[in-house]
Amino acid sequence: MLYFTRWKATAIVLTAFIVCLFAVPNFLPEKMVQSWPKWAQRHVVLGLDLQGGSHILLEVDSAAVRKEKLEALRDDVRRVLLDARPRIGYTGLVVRGNSVEVRVREGSNFDQAVEKLRELSQPLGGILNTTGQRSLDVRTEPGNLVRLTVTEPALVERVRQSVEQSIQIIERRVNELGTVEPLIQRQGIDRILVQVPGLQDPTRLKEILGKTAKLDFRMVDVSMPAEQALQGRVPPEDEILYSSTQPRTPYLVEKRILVSGGDLTDAQPGFDQRTSEPVVNFRFNTSGARKFAQVTQENVGKPFAIILDNQVISAPVIREPILGGSGQISGSFTVESANDLAILLRAGALPAPLTIIEERTVGPGLGQDSIAKGKLSSYVGAAMVIIFMLVTYGLFGLFANVAVAINVAMIFGVLSMLNATLTLPGIAGIVLTVGIAVDSNVLIYERIREEVRSGRTPINAIDAGFTRALATILDSNITTFIAAAVLFYIGTGPVRGFAVTLGIGIITTVFTAFTLTRLIVAYWVRWRRPQRVPI
């Protein structure tokens, strides 16, 4: 137990040394580290609770995604039946649950209708479709009824796609805010986690995340005033929408979309040349420009509505055809809201609304305080443990303290290698590790004391002490490690930070107990040839 071959001793010291070296970038100014190779730059990342910032969990409204998918299917069914030659007459086209139902009027072309509708069903999973699943389940029922049911995998797939798209759009939006190192990732099926460090006030971030930003250009129906439509019947091709500003004015607008936000190539905040009010200038892509030119040519003198998330921002009258493919949105903006709208339009519309289901924000002041408190308690804790070990074990206590110090340095090294996040509970984990790391030494030393008492020679006792204690150290640490692993698995944020440091601490503790402590004692024995054990 006390004999080490030269290469083994070298390997142990080298391993510990290299792991410790990885901790170095944490203690140097950032500028100095930047010129190093990438792998050497790895360092501990401070958690949001220490550096301040926002953690926001968003959920995609999957009910809205489903509804939209079914409504699109209903429109497809209508189109298929109307486009058929000869035309297929139908009644009762409705969405019911996860299905679309339609009744074919003439029994004679029922088979033809079913055949056409079956073409709407597509295999799922692209070219690698191995499951044989299809997007639709088409069934016929007596009375010429056709029921097209959207299969569950197709719906899940649609939600998945929405989340993917949303993540890309959110990335664009958050990056436009000029934040440093935002983290945006998917969680579960329909959730997106956004973490933005170092933010004073997350209100603006939340506003930018929460807007769908669906922009439409539609014609205002001037055949009757909106008030009259509100009291009587709204024409089937129209709907009532309200202005975004107070007082909320109703507008009767066509459901048909002339041009949508998807056709924009650019949007920038600016000022109106005449009124010097903040505005948003935009430019269409080629097809958008062509559509817009055609519509404005046909409708000179009539008002059209610019609609954002089902609210009318403004409804200007077309004075002359707009052929250049660019335009301007005005509508009581402030400089900031014009800027935000431009960001939203550039980033594109979300495929479905997002809801904030969890938010945790820590201000930079609290983060600073937490770092200070974490440091203070670590120093005090370490100092007390060091003194206690010296008082209890003397020289061997010193050995233990050296081993524990290397242990802590190695924890930082491993954390850096993993680019792990350090949180306040994480610091608590390190302090606790100091407490538990000395335990491995205590186990060894107490065992040595016992062996001495049972009458062994010093070297014999030390050897036997190590042999017997190491098995116990392994057993007892594995149980704690299991707890840390479970904690890592179920925990989020700060709690996970605790699990990480605790887990790494256990591994480095076992490593130092098995190698470094043993090596130190072995060299001391070889050097001093002790007649009695000083513990």
């Binding site: 209100t203 335990d439 205590v442 007892s476």
Partner: protein
């Protein structure tokens, strides 16, 4: 230099005799803890109950709680709790979960920000919606169960099943008593409390395993020694280690408790109770003597192996 010896060499305490006191005592305490849980309840934090927690710091001297309470009470947000938090200008605001789904929680935050205006700095804002809170609770409970189960399996592999069962009973006992402690003190029960419980589980087992290791060694060596004597010897031999280790862990925890700040106060307080008070008692007075009842070591005498030490 004379070194400190907290525990003298060769102690011969009769720990096993205490089982006639410790078992009924633990049973009684466990019953009290369980009834506390059911009748007094835990102070569930927003992680599990949903709602909003805000830590604000007054920029204009000490916080005027009465004024803030009046301002927030007028918002119609239901139950709003204000509490001084550490420094006199620090206030913790708790708002119960708002009816009306996820968006209503965000609306509440907006209202509070409006009412308190620019006189305070928002140091921390946490909003947990109804859906997340339910998930977090079930995650926590499942995690705890999973950890107990995983450790049980591990111990079963390393020792005999009686040891695994003994350790399990001892640890459920620890967790039950700690939950009782949380109920009495009404410490916020949130995700960090689950972390504390898991760590208590880990450490307390760590301790139990050290003693069990020794018992196993003694069982191999002394084949004729009566079980209570053998257990006593094992506990006495590991006593010095147990005490020293608990002193070091308590020193570390004490530093966290005194200087770690409010944010981890309930975490360290719980750990202090669970690891230091309960954990130590359990491994000595519960985990070891219970092996007698679980039938460890019975039938050793029928083995024909010679008793080496006699």
């Amino acid at each position: 230099m004379r070194l400190l010896r907290i525990v003298p060499d060769d102690t011969k305490f009769d720990f096993m005799r205490f089982r006639r006191i410790s078992f009924p005592l633990s049973a009684l305490l466990s019953i009290i803890a369980i009834s506390l849980y059911f009748f007094h309840g835990l102070n569930f934090g927003i992680d599990f109950k949903g709602g909003t927690l805000m830590e604000v710091q007054s920029k204009v001297g000490d916080a005027d709680l009465a004024k803030m309470r009046a301002a927030l009470g007028a918002l119609g947000l239901g139950e709003v709790q204000l509490q001084q938090f550490g420094a006199p200008n620090d206030v913790l605001i708790r708002i119960a979960e708002q009816p009306g789904g996820e968006a209503a929680q965000q609306e509440a935050v907006r209202k509070v920000r409006g009412a308190l205006g620019g006189e305070v700095e928002y140091r921390r804002v946490e909003v947990v919606g109804p859906r997340v809170s339910g998930e977090l609770l079930s995650y926590g409970v499942v995690g705890l169960m999973l950890a107990i189960f995983a450790i049980l399996i591990y111990l079963w592999f390393r020792f005999e099943w009686q040891f695994a069962l003994g350790a399990m009973i001892a640890n459920v006992h620890d967790i039950v008593l700690t939950i009782g402690f949380m109920s009495v003190t009404q410490i916020d029960f949130d995700l960090t409390s689950i972390a504390a419980l898991l760590t208590i589980l880990g450490y307390s087992l760590n301790d139990t395993v050290v003693i069990y290791d020794r018992i196993r060694e003694m069982l191999r060596r002394y084949r004729k020694m009566p079980m209570p004597d053998l257990l006593n010897a094992s506990v006495n031999q590991t006593l010095s280690r147990s005490v020293i280790t608990h002193v070091t862990v308590s020193l570390a925890l004490l530093a966290l408790l005194l200087f770690g700040g409010q944010a981890i106060h309930s975490f360290t307080a719980t750990m202090m109770f669970g690891v230091v008070l309960v954990g130590t008692y359990t491994s000595v007075f519960i985990a070891s003597p219970i092996l007698i009842y679980l039938g460890v070591g019975t039938g050793r005498d029928s083995l024909s192996a010679p008793d080496r030490d006699k």
